[in-house]
Point group: C2
Chain length 271, copies 2
């Protein structure tokens, strides 16, 4: 009796395509992108292309299948889980025909959407082959744009996913004004421990963060970078003058310390 | 009377060339590397090429001037400062003739040697033009190699420069066995605050770190990656079996948590 044929499926590659500047993609990611018959990416919102999509579009040929996947910007775990499962099913169907690349903005492993897609896919099909190619992440890109070192010597770095991290309160589903004062404890805990702090996606909590930085006299050593390395990148380096800022979703805040700033802040001309 | 001629000098570009895999250089860094008449990099030790040098060498032409710069592996600030000043003088001489690129392994802003070179150069010549191009850093590359997410959702990330961070004791000048038990307080403080911890350059303090991780029952959620993405990359994912390890200089340790591991650790096949 002939043995069962072993199904041949392609691999799923999660590739980090960098923070926004299309030239900040790595050669490795580009090679994988261009050799894959199917290219998936997070679908943009409000009819606009997403960041990863914008970065990769110039590199694709008409022969490559584009697979936009919907990941809703919500915190409801059931809605998210359903979206990831649906995306995983779509990817699985294409894996029967060959390799699939999923393009993430920034790095894949650093607060990346790919993690959830890969996890859902593995739950459905345990033998699926998945590989990851690292990319340039936004804190490093923001430091380069500012012309400052992110970390030097023996400095301890803390990175907080600000949008969700304020005592577990899902900021995206809460009006900024109603986030209680105690929700900023996370930042104060980090200030007690770290020499440099990065607050990811700071827009919704910026006003509260500003008050804490003012209290600790850290405004002079703090910087906001919105849409790092993208054409509409904006830098705020004089936060004393900005107790309130309307910031886009991809905004991060770097808090240095006096020691950091006076000894090693380059403040040089930046790209 | 004619005005004084304005001296025309080139720019210094600090470029991150990634953690080791030559294809993890970005297009932007490669373009800058190939268009620069002078290419500087940290000189290797013991007659071997350094990581950045190994990554860039295949991309250089015979027409480009190679400028190895010596940065001693010591903690004596006077010796370091003298080395940086000497390197800055060498770079300044070449800037009179055109652009100079300085290639760093990993990312430029993340514990990078470039910071000190740039600072020394600015102290000597305040008008010098300096630009930075971000690169892929080793924690993200290590996570990709392990096939795990570094951070997800609302996880707080702490990064410790382990070699120097144990209460200010310069581990590189101290036999590992003589580092006092209290010097590991930094790690315990981070464990109290963060969900995921990265210990950079962990080799000299590995044994002490292992004991702490064992005490907190975190060995099953911890991973060591030595020489991430380089040909001689080594991964240790079962640390229970490794209370002692002889690790190379570029070794890092990622500490996850039980929650992290059970909910989102992909443990998938890695590149």
């Amino acid at each position: 009796m002939p043995s069962m044929p072993i199904p041949i499926t392609g691999s799923l590659y999660g590739i980090g395509v960098g923070p926004g500047d299309p030239e900040l993609i790595t050669l490795k990611a580009l090679k994988r992108l261009q050799s894959s018959p199917v290219v998936a990416f997070p679908k943009g919102i409000q009819g606009k292309p997403g960041i990863a999509e914008s970065i990769i579009t110039p590199w694709l040929t008409d022969q490559q299948i584009r697979l936009p996947l919907t990941f809703p910007y919500v915190v409801d775990e059931q809605i998210l889980s359903a979206a990831w499962q649906q995306a995983a099913e779509m990817v699985w169907a294409y894996l029967q025909t060959g390799d699939v690349v999923f393009a993430c903005e920034g790095d894949v492993s650093f607060y990346g959407t790919f993690t959830y897609l890969a996890k859902s896919l593995q739950q459905q099909h345990s033998g699926v082959k998945i590989e990851v190619i690292a990319g340039v992440s936004s804190p490093m890109a923001a430091a380069a744009a500012l012309g400052i070192p992110l970390t030097c010597q023996d400095q301890r770095l803390a990175i907080l996913p600000a949008l969700y991290s304020f005592n577990g309160i899902p900021a995206s589903s809460t009006p900024a004004s109603s986030i209680p004062a105690s929700s900023t404890n996370e930042l104060e805990a980090a200030l007690g421990w770290a020499d440099v702090i990065v607050l990811m996606k700071v827009s919704r909590v910026y006003r509260q963060v500003w008050k804490i930085l003012a209290h600790y006299q850290l405004l002079d050593y703090s910087y906001v970078v919105a849409n790092a390395t993208q054409p509409h990148q904006v830098i705020y380096s004089n936060l004393q003058a900005h107790p309130d800022l309307k910031l886009p979703y991809f905004s991060l805040l770097i808090v240095g310390t006096k020691a950091n700033d006076s000894s090693l802040n380059l403040k040089h001309h930046s790209t």
